[in-house]
Every structure is written in C-alpha cells, then in structure tokens.
Amino acid sequence: MAVLRDELIGLRSMDDMIKARQLVRDCAIFQGLSLVDQTKIVTAASELARNTLVHGGGGEMRLQALNDGPRRGVKVIFADRGPGIPNIELAMKDGYTTRGGLGLGLSGSKRLVNEFSIESQSGKGTTVSIVRWK
C-alpha cells in the first residue's frame, strides 16, 4: 500500500480543529472521494478531533492519502496522551457521554467510515484511526 501524502498537525485549540477539518477535506478531494464520502470523513474527523481536544487535552492528527492497488482512500489518525478510556466498549455505545454531550462522537464516527480502530491505555492516552475508501 502506497502512502501518497502524509501530514501531521497538532490539535491544541479550536482553530487547529477547524484547520484539521479543512485538511481532511482537501485530502478527500485529492483522492477523488464523492461529496457524500468527503462529508462523512470530515464529519468523523471533526468528532474525533474534538475528542482529542476535550478528553485528551490536545494531541495530534496524522493524515494520509492511501493507494492500495486501484483503491484510493483517506486515513486519519488521532493521538493524545490524555487519561485514556477506561471502558472502550461502553464508550463506543450510542448515547454514552461523560461530558454532557450527545454521546455520538465515537459510535457515530465509526458508522461514517469504512475502517475504525481504537486503542487506549489508562493514563497513557488514546489513538483512534479511521479510513474512508473511495
């Protein structure tokens, strides 16, 4: 699998989050994703970037344009060194929230992408990775 573009940006503020959304949109356009698929991955990225900021205390986002043979896709990885998620199964449930939100961030963004993986270690942080293929 070839990685065509590889960008890393910090997620420390709301401005970074807006910049992150724009970068993901650019990459999705670059990879030729349809408007609906662009919107889905940008929305998922927005949810996860907010999680990195709010729950992880900031972190970084890595954005990759992937070519797997004829398949083209966009991969986004969010990493923080926050407190971690004690119970991932619970956190992945629709409506589960620790901050009074809607509890759709993780579960909802999973539905918007083709691949979703999450790793979290208590006290060490959380990494979430998503891919949307064309």
Binding site: M14, L35, T39, V42, S46, E47, G101, L102, L104, G108
Partner: protein, 127 residues
C-alpha cells in the same frame, strides 16, 4: 472572534451561517439568538445552513437547541438549505433531529413560518 449576524425581517429573525463554525461561535449564536427573540418579540427564526458543509454532533446539537429554545420563547424555528451530503451524514451519525422543522430553501422556509403563525394565530395575544 467572528460573530454570526442576526437579521430582523418583520416578525422573523434570519440567521445565515457562512463560516466554518468554531464551537464558541456556535454557543454565542445560541445565546444572542434567544436574547434577540425576546427583545425583538420575534415569532420565528429562519436558520439558513446552505453554506455549511459539515454538521457534526456539536453543531447538530446547537441547531436542535436553537429550535427548542425558540419554541419555549414562543417562536418557531425553520432550518433551511441543508445540503444533501450533510443530511445523509447527520442521519448516519445518529442525529436525525426529529424535532426540527426544515425547508429546502429560504422562500419555502418563510412560507412555512407564515403558515405556522396563521394556524397558531387565532386567539393568541398580540406581542
């Protein structure tokens, strides 16, 4: 920090969101809009999101909040111009916003607000 203008059109307030919204800008809009509904004695709010290309759960919740708050303040909210890709994404995200009224464009939204007012208008105290 940028602010989203709230325009008065007769008994209605018109809000057009044209920027990629900061969470704080969204919160400020919510606050200012509720104040303006009261100070302008508005009967309805037209929220135009035709330029918005991403609605995540935070912005979606804000839209729902605006509709609920305005209803409590005796004003109807109609959300107009949602892009098809945004609608598809919102529903898949799990946020179908069942309690908001929508219309395809500003014209249709205005018609909806006027008819809602006519229907509720009988016997309602003047403002």
């Amino acid at each position: 920090m940028e602010r989203i203008p709230i325009l008065k059109m007769g008994p209605y307030l018109l809000v057009t969101i044209q920027v990629d919204m900061h969470d704080r800008v969204a919160m400020t809009l919510q606050d200012e809009l509720t104040q303006r509904i009261v100070s302008e004695r508005a009967r309805g709010v037209l929220l135009d999101i035709s330029s918005v290309d991403v609605v995540d759960s935070f912005i979606g919740r804000m839209i729902g909040n605006i509709a609920s708050m305005s209803r409590v303040l005796d004003a109807e909210t109609v959300v107009v111009g949602m892009r098809p890709a945004v609608a598809i994404t919102l529903v898949e995200l799990g946020l179908a916003l069942p309690s908001i009224r929508t219309a395809l464009n500003v014209d249709a939204g205005m018609t909806l607000l006027k008819s809602a007012r006519k229907m509720a208008g009988n016997g309602r105290p003047a403002r």
